[in-house]
Symmetry: C2
Subunit: 80 residues, 2 copies
Amino acid sequence: MKARIHITLKAGVLDPEGKAIENALGSLGFDGVNDVRKGKYIELEIADSDETTARDNLTRMCEALLANTVIENYAIDLEA
Amino acid sequence: MKARIHITLKAGVLDPEGKAIENALGSLGFDGVNDVRKGKYIELEIADSDETTARDNLTRMCEALLANTVIENYAIDLEA
């Protein structure tokens, strides 16, 4: 089963990398770009065939390793 | 208009960071996880109100700055 995980900074957490992208886009002449937020995107293949089990395991992976839950949110998408 | 951009390594390009995540998950006891690929996820607000113009501008941003098109693919999602 294929899983896609988005890890994004929580609202209110400063995102200097996003800010740098925003400034760089401005320097390149792209105007009107705002609120750039940079996150992580992880694709993986999980052996669990049951969606509930897979989601449970992925949640534990996010909590234990993939996301820093103090400052980051995560979202899990599963594809059969 | 809100845009979401996914930047992923092309097939065949080695992903040492994804491999490290895979190994770390294995060390933590999560078995059956394979093909971990780590990409980037960028959210931004673009001023263009027309979807075609917005998509054109975002494509140029990806080509010019956001993605390294030699080794990375990008996908653009627009939300009205």
